[in-house]
Amino acid sequence: MKLRGRWMLLLGLVPFAVMVLAFQFVPVLAMVTSSFSKAGGSGLTLQHYDKIFHSPFYLQAIKNSLLISAWSSLAGIAAGLVCAYSISRFAPKIRDRLLLLSNMTSNFAGVPLAFAYIILLGSNGVFTLLFKQWGWSVFGGFNLYSWSGLVLVYVYFQVPLALLLLYPSFYGIRDQWREAASLLGATRWQFWRTVGLPLLTPSIFGTLGILFANAMGAYATAYALVGGNYNLLAIRIGSLVAGDIVNQPELGSALAVLLALSTLLAVCLNHFMAKRSLRFTANAASAPKPDGKRRRQRYSPDGQAAALPKEALR
């Protein structure tokens, strides 16, 4: 009886182990080994990494990806912070509706998003033609299929994500603290500088990590918008491995390993920061306060699942 029970347990785990091994472990391993092996043959080599770090072309792709991810994440954080604060000032009913709308637009990513921006701001876009007709030359130099256009579209999918990830932490800052600070003579600015922002810092950096990884890995949006014309790391990998012209899978693997390292690092930052911010709020929660129930709900794993960025879409 007991033995049979053990077998049943094991039987429940086998399919999971097989699937994860076959479609997650082996591929990652194959990619890493491939990045160290000679083109079309066997034997260890560092030639692909060497080539990447001596090729202006690939270095530029890495630089472009890092820059666009950094800028779009920073812009997303800035907008997200302001909006998250603003959203926390609304009554719960309106707040939930606003959050629902933001969540909804976070589904609008990848190919459809790029397409919507082409309609609005592409070379024959509605706004492009309107502005031309009205003679607004300020936007004359704007080109959607370039750096500025890409940043614009990236920021669009970063803002709702930043907002959804940041707004819970604003509820960690209690009104009582604000009142206490103002009773002690602190100005609003002083309160935010010495109490508010330090409390928010872990979740700001954590969110920054997620946004950065999100932008580094984004492929669909850029691919649909500029195709192979703009030099980004993700796009280069795609064309090296599954391109139409020449396949150089080993070189593509090496680039993919670099990309994975950068996103893993960013996600680790998030993980580390989430731990810190939990410590903060856990201390705060241990104080006997009537809003303890709300806090528990917010940090429930359910909320985390909902906040997982739908990275696959981008």
Partner: protein
């Protein structure tokens, strides 16, 4: 704080945010029903031609079906594999939970392009030549939705206190498998449904893996949309909006389910 009226600054700010977020959607929507839309703020005329021609296009209908059945199979497979695995780990082997969590969160740190590179390297040569087949894609999809499925199933198990339920069932003489099927499954079903739908909507919007792994062989709705963007803007808008409305419907169901569940737990 909860009852306070939001000030004007906040209202204006939120209005701006909503305009910013909804404008691209609105533009796509209008474009899908517009006859001609150039040099005016709103389209010059309205038509249902684009939506009509979309449904007349056999390739669109085919792509829609392909997407639907690929997503359904992947989600079903994930359910069949993940339900027993998460159950066993959470209830009987909690020491292994950290390991499983690490495994399951990994796909979420690895971007689609990277995953695609690994899969192509592994499955484009003998003995496992799966290049361009639906099997490869389903396997890839399985990994994509791992984090969502794991979180959903595990949370549901914890919410219904699966361990206590099982102890009670075993005390009353039920065997493990029987207890799992007749006691645990019906109890966690609503929560599992939520993560299933979420996974489905994520897969429905998947482009990177689909395009890189099977792009030339199998056309899902996303790949089809990508191909059409260059041809007719209006038609592509119609497709994009149909896709978005579909996703929206799923999210609405999700929210309703979520609300219902949290209501039950509280009550």
């Amino acid at each position: 704080m909860e009852t306070r009226q939001a000030g004007w600054t906040h209202r204006v700010l939120m209005l701006l945010l909503m305009v910013y977020l909804l404008l691209p959607l609105l533009a796509t929507f209008l474009y899908a029903f517009a006859t001609e839309w150039q040099t005016t703020v709103l389209p010059q005329g309205w038509t249902l031609e684009w939506v009509g021609s979309m449904f007349e296009d056999i390739r669109f209908v085919e792509a829609l079906w392909t997407s639907l059945y690929l997503c359904l199979i992947s989600v079903a497979l994930s359910l069949v594999v993940m339900l027993p695995a998460v159950f066993v780990i959470t209830v009987y082997l909690p020491r292994w939970e950290t390991l499983m969590k690490g495994l399951v969160v990994l796909p979420y740190a690895v971007p689609g392009v990277v995953a695609a590179v690994g899969l192509i390297r592994t499955y484009s040569s003998q003995p496992f030549d799966l290049a361009g087949t639906a099997y490869l894609l389903i396997g890839a999809y399985f990994v994509v939705i791992l984090p969502y499925m794991y979180q959903g199933i595990r949370n549901s198990l914890l919410t219904v206190s699966a361990v206590e339920l099982l102890n009670a069932a075993e005390l009353l003489g039920a065997r493990r498998v029987r207890a799992f099927v007749t006691i645990i499954l019906p109890n966690i079903w609503p929560g599992v449904m939520v993560s299933t739908l979420l996974s489905f909507s994520v897969l429905f919007g998947e482009f990177v893996l689909t395009n890189m792994l099977v792009g030339g062989h199998i056309q899902t709705i996303q790949v089809y949309l990508y191909r059409r963007v260059g041809e007719s803007g209006h038609l592509a808008s119609a497709i994009a909006i149909t896709y978005f409305l579909f996703i929206l419907a799923i999210s609405m169901v999700l929210m309703k389910l979520g609300k219902k569940m949290s209501g039950e737990v509280r009550g």
